[in-house]
């Protein structure tokens, strides 16, 4: 338990500055962003209450917003993600069931489960961010493309980071 808490804290302390200092400048094809800090929100264990999860999402979202000059948008998307997460987790439980303390990572339940768990949540997040930012439906096609590319790149980076730093 203490070990998990330490992992969560260290991830937060490292990932958030990484997001706002490094990955903010990292844009693929002039279109896709990389919201690598989602790894932190996604790894929070089932044990954590929904309310606390949403407050954490609000705080980290606002920090990211300050640097992306999009006040409120990332926070709103993060809160939505953290609200939907428990429901989706229950629907998509691994064959052996969850351990309440386990971190939601590839190493705990395997890649297949993690993809099923993370892809819809990342999609929800990137669609919320980009559609709220676009404001109107006038740019529907290009926003859809941007959101999809963003979700894809985010997923790739989240997986790479896990295989590099969170292996067994």
């Amino acid at each position: 338990m203490t070990r998990n808490l330490a992992t969560i804290l260290i991830t937060f302390i490292i990932l958030l500055p990484l997001q706002i200092l490094v990955f903010r400048n990292f844009v693929v094809f002039d279109m896709g962003f990389c919201f690598v800090y989602l790894l932190f929100l996604l790894m929070l264990p089932l044990e954590l209450s929904v309310a606390l999860g949403m407050v954490i999402a609000l705080i980290s979202g606002l920090v990211v917003d300050l640097f992306y000059q999009t006040i409120g948008i990332h926070a709103a998307a993060g809160i939505l993600l953290m609200f939907v997460k428990p429901f989706w987790q229950r629907l998509n439980s691994p064959r052996s069931g969850y351990e309440v303390n386990d971190l939601m990572l590839v190493r705990t339940y395997g890649l297949g489960w993690y993809l099923g768990y993370s892809i819809p949540l990342i999609l929800i997040y990137s669609f919320t961010v980009l559609f709220v930012e676009a404001g109107s439906s006038g740019l529907f096609g290009i926003t859809l493309l941007k959101a999809t590319i963003t979700a894809f790149i985010t997923l790739i980076f989240i997986l790479i980071i896990q295989y590099l730093f969170y292996s067994k």
Partner: protein
């Protein structure tokens, strides 16, 4: 009462969700209007200093290109100096006098600044510069670089200022087709960061690819005839009321580094005169 309490406890997560989302939506709406400064402003001191540090590191990798640009600009200014037809003071970077017409002249003061943060991928893009109210920057001032118009200052704190870039669907700039002297509006459509639309030009104007689009003298923000871009594509719309024109922006927003903030010495005078004679808008 007990039932109500039970209801609240049962759905507390959902209620908190609603409260937090409302808070976020309030923040988004607060920040929406580009002239109003929001409750949480991203041009705060801490955010500014972090951006500045991050930019300081990135600066080393850009030095070569920035040097090339500055050298090219210097060469252009030297050429102007030697051409001798107009009198331009030697310290033209600090003080540039542009004659508006023969009878009077407006004085514009350019203040150099460095971009510490910039984006091009969003639909509404903003940038941040490393000068603030301490250096005399005020909201509403124009921003340009050696290639052309960059945007307008939106909010200012002591040491940094945030600007709204041309690449922002909520920002439009009054523009002039140099050859025909027709006035239109340049507005970005949120798609390609290298191109923008020029609106409200009637079909009787003859436009050719490569024609210069410059700022008009209709606002007190930019000096007359600062380059915005060149005409790229012209087509007619269905009703044949206005031409549909795409222009190539002269500024490469992905590579912004050093800019000039334009201070119009006569802005207060112009604005107060304009406010005392309000236009009739239907």
């Amino acid at each position: 009462m007990g039932q109500l309490l039970a209801f609240l406890i049962k759905y507390r997560a959902f209620l908190l969700f609603l409260v937090l989302e409302t808070f976020c939506i309030w923040l988004i709406v607060q920040n929406n209007d580009y002239q109003r400064s929001a409750f949480i402003n991203s041009s705060s001191k801490f955010v500014g200093s972090v951006n500045e540090t991050s930019r300081d590191i990135g600066d080393y990798f850009r030095l070569r290109r920035v040097n090339d640009e500055l050298a090219a600009e210097n060469a252009r200014l030297r050429e102007l100096l030697f051409s001798g037809t107009e009198e331009i003071p030697i310290d033209s970077l600090v003080k540039l006098t542009i004659d508006k017409d023969t009878t009077d002249s407006i004085q514009y003061i350019l203040k150099p600044a460095e971009i510490t943060r910039n984006s091009v991928q969003l639909v509404n893009n903003f940038f941040m510069i490393n000068k603030g109210s301490k250096d005399g920057i005020e909201p509403g001032m124009g921003v340009m670089n050696s290639f052309g118009v960059v945007g307008t200052i939106r909010s200012v704190s002591k040491n940094v200022a945030e600007g709204i870039s041309i690449l922002n669907t909520r920002n439009s700039v009054s523009a002039l087709h140099l050859k025909s002297d027709r006035v239109g509006t340049v507005q970005w459509d949120g798609r390609n960061p290298k191109r923008a639309a020029l609106l409200y030009i009637t079909p009787d104007v003859e436009l050719a690819k490569g024609d210069s689009i410059v700022t008009s003298s209709f606002n007190a923000v930019f000096p007359k005839e600062v380059l915005i871009g060149t005409v790229d594509e012209v087509s007619r719309d269905e009703q044949n009321t206005y031409l549909q024109i795409m222009i190539n922006l002269s500024v490469d927003f992905a590579k912004l580094s050093y800019v000039y903030v334009i201070k119009n010495e006569l802005k207060i005078e112009q604005d107060s005169l304009m406010n005392s004679n309000p236009l009739d808008i239907q």
